[in-house]
């Protein structure tokens, strides 16, 4: 038992980093969600909030860098872990049974890339406005949202992606408590339920925006 190599070289270390970065990303998602929900208060509120975010660029950039870094670490580790596991199970069983795993767990590897693609799409769409220049006016968050989500294809992309996010969060949140060892037999059931509630809650809250606009409730 000599000096052991670094934390990151083991899959256990990678998973712990994924858990920590996942948590950072989760908090970002929560924050982002809370901000956007101001759309239901009204145009001024949302636009003022957006302006406020841009008022201290140092902080904004700090957050952006932290989130981007977390995102990268999360993804790189996920890919490495996934490759390692693929190598570990080269042959499948003839009779396949899903043992105890739920759909959310099995689809992490799909909801992950969906979220990644969506984030890129979302950045190009609403942060840089490069995707649909006709629909985008810098600083006019409220109007940009209304303009976009009135078009059902865009709304559907957001809805689907957020369902994916919900699943990802459901397994991810539960999983990160396990990976960080934040467990106790008394809370084991709570962990499941809480993750589900949060996963569904976040997805529902985010989805409520395009749905409301599409339905004409917010205009």
């Amino acid at each position: 038992m000599n000096e052991s190599p670094g934390f990151y070289s083991s899959s256990v270390g990678k998973k712990i980093l994924m858990a920590v970065t996942g948590m950072i990303l989760f908090f970002f998602v929560l924050f982002h969600m809370a901000g956007n929900l101001q759309i239901f208060i009204g145009q001024e509120e949302l636009d003022r909030y957006a302006k406020f975010l841009h008022s201290v660029p140092e902080i904004l950039w700090l957050v952006r860098i932290a989130v981007t870094f977390s995102f990268l670490v999360h993804i790189v580790a996920a890919v490495q872990v996934w490759l390692q596991s693929r190598r570990a199970r080269p042959i499948r069983y003839k009779v396949r049974v899903n043992l105890a795993t739920d759909m959310a767990a099995r689809t992490m590897i799909w909801t992950g890339p969906i979220i990644l693609l969506f984030v890129l799409y979302h950045l190009l769409h609403l942060t840089y406005g490069a995707l649909y220049p006709d629909l985008f006016v810098e600083g006019h968050v409220y109007q940009n949202l209304i303009n976009s989500f009135r078009l059902w294809p865009i709304a559907v992309v957001y809805i689907v992606a957020n369902i994916g996010l919900g699943f990802h969060l459901y397994h991810g949140l539960w999983s990160l408590t396990q990976t960080l060892g934040w467990t106790h037999p008394r809370f084991d059931r709570c962990r499941r339920v809480a993750s589900a509630v949060i996963g569904i809650g976040v997805a529902a809250a985010n989805i409520s925006i395009p749905v409301s606009i599409l339905a004409g409730l917010v205009r």
Partner: protein
């Protein structure tokens, strides 16, 4: 009762395998699963065919030698039951069963249903112990262990090293096996002393084998014949994380280079 068996046959480690189908007409419901295979093998030998190789020894659920994936379920999927303790009364007349070996890159097939699990031994050799040597330990009564801790340590210590957890894991990960040992020793005061070293060394050894990574599928605990829960894995994760935290004694007690003195 009558059974149709589809069994993975592979003559050696490098040979190509295939499924063969066998029919058994006279299976008694009180037989154990392995006794049913014994009967099949007697028939095969009498007919001049090669019997099916499968591993077993104690046949009472404790040596961890046996293990067959039956219809996709390691050990047949009955709660707390190894293959050798599975009885035919749990199957239906006329049922078709598919028998496969443990599948994992870390457990290469040696013949038919026999795999090589020596990777497990190498993990233990790296750190699955308390480093004391024989002779003159303190009186047993000087080490007090709260009853609850002793019970919990025992829950984890009951692992039989069968490998069903790896066989069931879609990632082919060895976490349940490895963490059961880490949790067992880490629960006890005797084992806490070198807990940091142990978890690092065992994880490192595990990574040298072609095991997968844990993504918390929980398939392992579903099939573990000793019903060990993934709380063991959580404990291991916690220990591993803490082992790397600053504040652990990691040298630095003596100055490496004295800066103020002129170099000699």
């Amino acid at each position: 009762m009558r059974l149709t068996l589809h069994i993975w046959r592979q003559s050696g480690p490098d040979a190509k395998g295939r499924f063969e189908t066998y029919k058994l007409d006279d299976v008694n419901e009180h037989m154990s699963f392995l006794e049913m295979l014994d009967v099949l093998n007697q028939q095969l030998i009498e007919n001049g065919e090669d019997p099916v190789a499968f591993e077993h020894d104690c046949r009472e659920g404790v040596c961890g030698m046996c293990g067959i994936v039956i219809n996709g379920l390691p050990h047949g999927g009955r709660k707390g039951t190894t293959t050798c303790q599975l009885h035919m009364r749990h199957f239906k007349d006329g049922e078709e069963l598919t028998l496969e070996p443990w599948r994992s890159a870390a457990f290469p097939v040696l013949k038919d249903l026999v795999v090589d699990r020596s990777a497990f031994d190498r993990i233990i050799q790296a750190g699955g112990f308390i480093s004391i040597h024989t002779g003159a330990p303190p009186d047993a009564a000087t080490i007090l262990v709260p009853k609850e801790d002793a019970e919990l340590a025992m829950d984890y210590a009951e692992c039989i090293g069968c490998g069903a957890c790896v066989a069931a894991c879609p990632n082919g990960a060895a976490m349940l096996f490895m963490s059961a040992k880490i949790a067992h020793l880490g629960m006890l005061p005797q084992g806490k002393v070198e807990a940091d070293r142990r978890v690092k060394a065992m994880v490192e050894a595990m990574e040298k084998e072609p095991f997968g990574a844990c993504t918390n599928f929980t398939s392992c605990e579903a099939v573990c014949p000793k019903e060990i829960s993934i709380s063991a894995i959580a404990r291991m994760n916690r220990d591993y994380r803490r082992a790397f935290l600053p504040g652990k004694a990691e040298g630095g007690g003596k100055l490496e280079k004295v800066k103020l003195l002129p170099a000699t």
